[in-house]
Symmetry: C2
Subunit: 408 residues, 2 copies
């Protein structure tokens, strides 16, 4: 296995170095370059300063096989990426006739004649560059051959950048798509170990693990093994992850739950106390969720648990709001009020206050109602208020997923 | 006004350049440096590679008055920041006795004798550095004088980095705290214009505008005007922003709503269709929200609007679920079922499908129930599903805020 070719990422914009915008392009491109077979040596954000950018582009194109630049390709005076690249590579800018024609059409439709000359600068292409025509925005991308590889200029908006980057990497990166396995209920280090045990010491498959609270993505990518072998190893890792693995196509947990419910032709609902609407919000984030998600009750107060879900006052008085009995009654109540076959409930102590020795901060009771009955589970989560709520939300969605898979 | 001193930010970690972690330290430090009076010229992320990091630190400390480095200060072999800084500045590492003593205590408690020598490397301090003792983690920060200013080494975890950065900037940055005004219902460019009109062409006050969907923060910072004048100008900008400005202490919209309800001694609730739980989730994100937020109903299906909120079937049939009549009934229903004095409701079309010429994607009806009656508002939001839902959530929270302020 030869050493991987080097790559670098440069994001351009004064709004990045003043903290006005968080750069999300950098991490997204870094991940894409990794699975495409490159070693990213640095990620750089610079202000709208053509001279400084040109120095960095000179330095990085000398060292790296691929340098990806995003931003600074728009029509304003602040958009200095074209000029900087021209200086760094000592190649002139030439106006592209077909891009100019398309921009002229936009100018006449939008009636900004004053800005015409500025807008048309977006048609200025570095000599020898391959143009990537814009699909959603107005600025084209540019792929410029260098002595060591390519300098790639892409627009800053992620929706414009993303398809152009994919085009470039399809042509110049690894041809094998990576295997992406998403799991919940397994730690980052356990997921990594499970994958490493399958891979052994083989050097022809790359491995990276991306972690969010209660959500771990294992990515296997080709470094010489080939597509068939990568698929076979992906299956083995999926088996090793077991029930924890909820998707192998990049789908989120909520997307998976909505898909399973649609496939089974059943409706779902929720009743939330400590998660406070986060389960419902995650499910309704999915386009088309209204076909299967009937709704939820955020019963934050005890009175509302009684009034909206039919929890017995005496049950709360005897066992407390955070208890198996109340979680059970909430799940039954959610299914009853919505008419759904499946419902999940949460009641717990998110903190930072409200904990006791018997019921500490982080304790959550879950109820899951299915056509065959009601089950409850008790879990203690670590972390701050946000961490507890996020982990409890993922856990509840996972209970719904497992119920939709198991309860026939 | 002299030119601002230059600053640079370096974040260290292979997990950053492989896309496994999104770097949020960079933007946070950039914003803090801006308001402390520095011009950030670049932000750089590098892998755990001591030689490469040393080259960058040499280059940046030659040019910048302040270079902030985060990460790579832990106890493992990957933690290369101390060595790189030592090489870059040609200053030796010396073991600090008091930090070593504290670390030895941790080692004996945690019983990791094998790792003892590695853990103790965290006590290695660059000759001449001022040590910032850790409060939450184990690695100290280091402030190292350079020919042009300071090289500052901080731990990577944001909770450890943040107080150390504040310490450094309190001592070496502008002494005047910035004015932070948060607004909703005003565009980024209008907020900027409003502030610029107040500031005119004066060069002794800095201005930056941070924008999220339906949430704009105007930050004024001292560049020579002094604290009293900054406060006076902040008041004028606040007046110019008018009702749109919801906080001047950094509080979020949900925190403001919870505070106002607590101050008035009233309870609040919500009924959500298109926002699908996001209003409830935002309110319950606030610690202590259970004192005033009674709960909400996520009535995603028409049946649930009827069953849980008492919306009339005939009303939905006649006017449609997305209508003034249904929004009104949902707000009344939410107040009724929870027993709250104030309640807000949403019903709309988040997309991507479901729009018609009369009721396009992005249309949302809001209801707001107060002790003096019920009001409804119709709005059309742009953006994709997530954008419409986020903007509708902020709009609904803002309706609650205004009702809590106005309805006496």
């Amino acid at each position: 296995m030869p050493a991987k070719p080097f790559a670098a990422i440069v994001t351009v914009g004064t709004e990045l170095v003043t903290g006005q915008r968080l750069d999300t392009n950098g991490a997204e491109i870094a991940s894409a370059l990794l699975v495409a077979g490159f070693a990213v040596v640095e990620m750089l954000s610079v202000a709208d300063d053509a001279a400084r950018l040109a120095l960095h582009l000179k330095r990085l194109t000398d060292e790296c096989a691929v340098v990806i630049v995003t931003g600074g390709l728009g029509p304003t005076h602040d958009d200095i990426t074209r000029d900087a690249a021209s200086h760094a590579l000592r190649k002139p800018l030439l106006r592209d006739a077909s891009i100019e024609c398309a921009l002229a059409g936009i100018i006449s439709r939008h009636r900004h004649p004053d800005a015409a000359e500025q807008v048309l600068t977006q048609a200025d292409i570095i000599e020898g560059a391959t143009v990537i025509a814009p699909t959603t925005g107005t600025a084209p991308g540019q792929i410029i051959p260098t002595a060591t590889g390519y300098l790639v200029l892409l627009p800053g908006p992620p929706s414009e950048m993303r398809p152009m980057l994919a085009d470039f990497l399809n042509a110049h990166g690894s041809a094998t798509p990576p295997v992406r396995l998403r799991s919940s209920g397994v730690s980052e280090s356990d997921a990594q170990l499970a994958a490493q045990r399958v891979l052994g010491d083989r050097a022809d498959v790359g491995l990276t693990v991306l972690a969010a609270p209660a959500d771990v993505e294992v990515v296997l990518f080709d470094e010489g093994a080939g597509a068939t072998e990568l698929t076979r190893l992906g299956e083995l890792v999926r088996e090793a992850l077991g029930d924890a693995c909820y998707s192998s196509d990049g789908s989120s947990m909520a997307e998976t739950v909505i898909r399973l419910a649609r496939e089974r032709g059943v409706r779902i609902a929720c009743a939330e106390s400590c998660t406070g609407g986060k389960i419902a919000a995650a499910l309704t984030d999915v386009p088309g969720s209204s076909e299967v998600f009937l709704g939820g009750v955020v019963s934050y107060s005890n009175e509302m648990k009684v009034a909206s879900l039919g929890v017995m006052k005496g049950s709360i008085a005897q066992h407390g709001a955070v208890s198996e009995e109340v979680a059970r009654a909430m799940a039954i109540g959610a299914a009853g009020v919505t008419g759904s076959a499946f419902a999940v409930s949460t009641t717990g102590i998110a903190g930072p206050t409200g904990g006791t020795p018997e019921k500490p901060v982080g304790l959550v009771w879950f109820g899951i109602r299915t056509p065959s009955g009601v089950m409850c589970e008790r879990r203690e989560f670590f972390g701050d208020r946000d961490g507890v709520r996020t982990r409890a939300t993922m856990y509840a969605l996972n209970l719904l997923r497992q119920a939709l898979l198991d309860d026939k």
